[in-house]
């Protein structure tokens, strides 16, 4: 067997693995005042991994005895992973430095989590899938509790860990039921077994467990209770990552399990998915509406976004032709990418206003930001408008995509609920804009973090948000191919 041909499609994962080791090692030998080097090193490594993606694009092969599948879908997800990773690596350092938190550990933990996301994206077997999932979430628990002298961080980390482990166990239980009923852990084999016989009551139980486990990771209502505490306790830029990274992973899981594995019986889980979507977006929005802390508001709103993405999966299930079903998957992918960029950046801005460590992302920090730092306020306003879904931003196009997919699938009622929810969300997103632009600064305004890395990250994100919103065509082509690799 030729190991080279077997391993070359794993290039991005290999680069990431090597990068983790390099970062950990270099960290050991760097004196304290030179730790900043780790950030450019991490970003450089991630860019390398990103460059390797076009090389493996179009491979579409099963590897490692069928346990691993490098298809265009996985490459797209890995691309989104790398983007989120780069932004997170840029946003975090200054915030961590102010609080004397270790940068080396952060980079290592981040990279481990990214690696887990990449493995998840390529899992074609429930075992690999579980492996990737755990590799992704273990570091997330660490990130939630990263501020180890802060009791909110401890609380959030512990809650996240306990509930997360619980959910993993449920998922694992579902996997074992599925194995028992279909005789395989291979997603293809499961799909084949399902397309021959219809769903049995036992299988429905298994699907129930899988759904609960996976939607827990995606923070869907009613499995979202860990989210606000974990998100609030974590250092803010890390919250940004937690709100998008594991979510991307969770949707990779959902796509792999529900589309690859349970695709043949999609009519049976359509209503479950649609109901979850409605519950999640409405629940998240209503609770976000009542928050006065911006960080917590963004945490709840991330639940609402999960709901919109779930609607994309429901559109897949509701579609009658494979072309319209593919639209649903494309919508999920586009939303995950766009949401990743805008949400990481929005949390980063909250973090930038926490230069004073006694600030916790309250609304007051934002008061009069437009007159104190017009560019940052404008950037935040664009990000918030994008999260609301106002053109010409990526957030608008992402919602549009989901709406197209749902209407296409004949789920017009779901589209109407999404539209109403988007209007509801405008309430609380615009509140931040109101505070930034229409209120006077506090008598002692929050100091602003002007670190170069963070500014660079912000510029990249805002440009990305606008360009992807105005000229999404290139990405749409990639999406079409990558979603197509599932069908």
């Amino acid at each position: 067997m030729n190991y080279f041909t077997e391993l070359s499609p794993l290039l991005p994962e290999l680069i990431l693995s090597a990068l983790v080791l390099v970062v950990i090692t270099v960290d050991l030998f760097l004196p304290r005042d030179q730790k900043w080097i780790l950030t450019p090193l991490t970003v450089f490594g991630l860019i390398l991994a990103g460059i390797s993606l076009p090389i493996v694009w179009g491979t579409n092969a099963n590897l490692l005895g069928g346990f691993y599948r490098v298809d265009d879908l996985s490459v797209f997800l890995k691309g989104a992973t790398v983007v989120i990773g780069i932004l997170s690596a840029l946003f975090a350092p200054s915030y961590l430095r102010t609080r004397r938190l270790p940068l080396g550990e952060f980079n290592a933990v981040l990279l481990f989590s990214l690696l887990g996301m990449c493995i998840l994206a390529s899992a074609s077997d429930l075992i690999t899938l579980f492996l990737g999932l755990e590799l992704m979430v273990m570091p997330s628990y660490v990130m939630a509790g990263f501020h180890k002298t802060d009791r909110y961080s401890n609380e959030g980390g512990l809650k996240y860990f306990l509930l997360g482990s619980f959910a993993s166990a449920i998922l694992l239980f579902g996997i074992s039921w599925t194995f028992g009923l279909t005789g395989s852990t291979h997603l293809n084999a499961i799909a084949k077994a399902l397309s021959q016989g219809g769903p049995t009551p036992g299988l429905l139980v298994a699907i129930g467990f899988l759904t609960v486990g996976a939607t827990f990771k995606a923070a869907a209502v009613p499995f979202h209770y860990w989210t606000p505490d974990a998100y609030q306790g974590a250092p803010t830029p890390l919250t940004g990552f937690l709100s998008v990274g594991p979510k991307l992973g969770a949707f990779a899981v959902l796509i792999r399990i529900f589309v690859d594995g349970l695709g043949p019986i999609k009519a049976d889980w359509l209503m479950v998915m649609a109901a979850l979507a409605v519950l999640t977006m409405t629940g998240g929005n209503i609770v976000a509406l009542t928050q006065s802390n911006v960080k917590r508001m963004l945490a709840y709103s991330s639940i609402a976004h999960t709901g919109y993405i779930l609607a994309g999966l429901a559109a897949f299930a509701g579609a009658s032709t494979s072309a319209t079903a593919q639209r649903g998957i494309e919508a999920v992918l586009f939303y995950v990418l766009g949401y990743g960029v805008m949400n990481v950046a929005a949390f980063a801005v909250v973090g930038m206003l926490q230069r004073d460590t006694r600030r916790f992302g309250g609304m007051g920090s934002f008061a009069g930001l437009a007159s104190r730092d017009p560019w940052r306020a404008a950037a935040m306003a664009i990000l918030l408008l994008s999260l609301t879904g106002i053109p010409p931003t990526v957030g608008f196009f992402a919602k549009l995509y989901v709406l197209v997919a749902t209407v296409n699938a004949g789920l017009g009622w779901l589209a109407v609920i999404i539209a109403l929810n988007a209007a509801l969300a405008a309430f609380y997103y615009l509140r931040v804009i109101v505070t930034m632009y229409m209120r006077d600064p506090e008598s002692e305004p929050a100091p602003i973090d002007h670190a170069a890395a963070g500014n660079l990250g912000l510029i990249i994100s805002v440009l990305g948000v606008l360009l992807l919103g105005l000229f999404p065509d290139r990405i749409l082509e990639l999406l079409r191919v990558s979603a197509g690799s599932l069908f």
Partner: protein
């Protein structure tokens, strides 16, 4: 060489915004001149559109480029007579608003002008887009700047007012987005050609069920904007809190986006639904006309009075639109133009006195005629225009709408004609209390320092004076331009069968 006139009209304000970014924020003079220059350039290009060839192809000055082919979205622009008049109205009123802001706006000047210019981009884009998606993008773009204008430069309760404005509008427009998608997808799956092109979608006979539902969504979006009773409650708040220039644009142009939406999209795309829903909408329009007039009578605040009179006047627009005959529709379009000019000017004039006394209560005024004769004269002119005095623009629109209403139903016309008297009551009574009678004690405090219209204020209002007289005496050119689009709407509706055989899922 083909000059992309429409792109230039729509995007020259955006170039102005970019230029503004380069000017230091404290250089107010340069900022104001650049903003005015950008608006004037846009106005200049919009005058080119007046060369629209009546009798030529329906949409002229067309531009059509591929934008997002994966979704069949195109950058398609073009104008017919209806768009031409509204585009010119928009550029004129924008120039007026920017000119008028010269002295009143002294805080965050750079942001202010950038926002106003962005607002122009959105509004102009709505009137020239011929692709439903492009239309929607411009529609939403026009929303945010207005939100900022009210929220930053507005009065005491500005935040409440602006959030109400945004949320109202957003609910309507997001539902409209779903309807746009539903319409495009229905067309796409029937013909295999997934497109948002207005010309392709128009004339496709959509399923009755889809029409019934999609029309409701379009109706909500446009009726909120117009605003129609009972969806009007955001309007008085927004107007009272908005800075003067914001009110000029809001009343002058933004409300017309709703009227335009009905004429351009809701009715031609979904004629069966429009035909069947017409009686309900006419009923609402009559209520709006009556209600707006009655509520105007009792308003203590000058600006609120004019805001409620807008509800009444825009009710005429809706009435004229949905009686579906030539006089009614022509009158509706003309009324939109006339209302834009008249009400824009009235809001500007309210701003003039507000700048001097920082008060708008009618009870606090009185006797201004003696002290400010020029102001009184010009206010009087627009008061009469608003009432609909023959020879001024307001008369033509209202008269045509009433003619259309008579052809439709005598009772409807009868009720509406009575309201014309009511409008005379509230406007003249207001004029009397403000300009005649004895000055209030409150006003006397300002008496020594009270100055008549400045040159700048004259410059701002002058174009509107010219228009209100010119349109009243020579309505021909405008009616000539809008004749063909109106005829087309009538044909579409006459050819439609209405919502027969409707079977909704509930």
């Amino acid at each position: 060489m083909h000059i992309p006139v429409l792109t230039l009209v729509v995007f020259s304000p955006l170039l102005g915004v970019l230029a503004l970014l380069l000017i230091p924020g404290h250089n107010h003079r340069a900022i104001r001149w650049v903003a005015l220059g950008a608006a004037l350039v846009s106005f200049g290009f919009s005058c080119v559109l007046l060369g629209y060839q009546v009798g030529g192809p329906e949409f002229q000055f067309r531009e059509d480029y591929s934008w997002i082919p994966a979704f069949g979205m195109r950058y398609t622009m073009g104008v017919d007579g209806l768009s031409v008049v509204l585009v010119v109205l928009t550029t004129v009123l924008s120039v007026v608003a920017i000119l008028y802001s010269w002295t009143p706006i002294q805080t965050r000047v750079k942001e202010y002008y950038a926002t106003m210019l962005l607002l122009m981009v959105g509004m102009l884009g709505v009137f020239v887009a011929l692709d439903l998606f492009l239309f929607y993008v411009f529609w939403e773009i026009s929303l945010i700047p207005m939100y900022l204008v009210i929220g930053i430069w507005g009065g005491a309760r500005r935040i409440y007012a602006t959030v109400k404005f945004v949320i109202y509008t957003l609910v309507g427009s997001l539902l409209m987005l779903v309807a746009i998608l539903a319409v495009a997808i229905a067309h796409g799956s029937a013909t295999g050609n997934f497109t948002f092109s207005y010309e392709a979608l128009r004339g496709f006979s959509f399923a009755i069920n889809l029409q019934a539902l999609a029309f409701i969504a379009f109706f909500l979006a446009f009726a909120i904007k117009v605003p129609m009773w009972p969806l009007h409650t955001w309007l008085p708040d927004a107007h009272v809190e908005a800075p003067t220039a914001g009110s000029i644009i809001l009343a002058g142009v933004l409300l017309k986006l709703g009227g335009y939406g009905f004429l351009r999209y809701a009715v031609p795309l979904l004629p069966d639904a429009a035909k069947s829903y017409a009686p309900i909408i006419i009923g609402l329009a009559i209520i709006a006309i009556l209600y707006g007039a009655l509520v105007s009578m009792v308003q203590p605040d000058l600006k609120k009075l004019i805001a409620y009179s807008s509800v009444s006047h825009m009710g005429f627009v809706m009435l004229g639109t949905f009686v579906f005959n030539a006089q009614g529709l022509q009158g509706a379009v003309f009324q939109m133009i006339s209302h834009g000019v008249t009400t824009g000017a009235l809001f500007l004039l309210v701003g003039v006195i507000y700048e001097r006394t920082h008060d708008r209560l009618i009870a606090h005024m009185g006797g201004l005629n003696g002290k400010l004769p020029q102001y009184a004269a010009i206010f009087g002119l627009f008061t009469f225009a608003s009432i609909g005095l023959p020879g001024l623009s307001g008369f033509i629109g209202e008269f045509l709408v009433l003619l259309g209403a008579f052809r439709f139903n005598g009772l409807v016309a009868g009720i509406t004609t009575v309201v014309v008297i009511l409008s005379a009551v509230y406007m003249l009574w207001m004029f009397q209390r403000v300009f005649f009678t004895v000055p209030s004690d409150w006003m006397r405090r300002f008496w020594p320092s009270l100055k008549d219209m400045t040159r700048l204020e004259w410059a701002a209002v002058a174009p509107l004076v010219v228009l209100v007289v010119a349109l009243g005496v020579f309505p021909g050119p405008v009616l000539h331009l809008t004749e063909a689009p109106v005829q087309r709407i009538i044909e579409t509706v006459n050819g439609a069968g209405g919502l027969t055989g409707l079977s909704l899922p509930w």
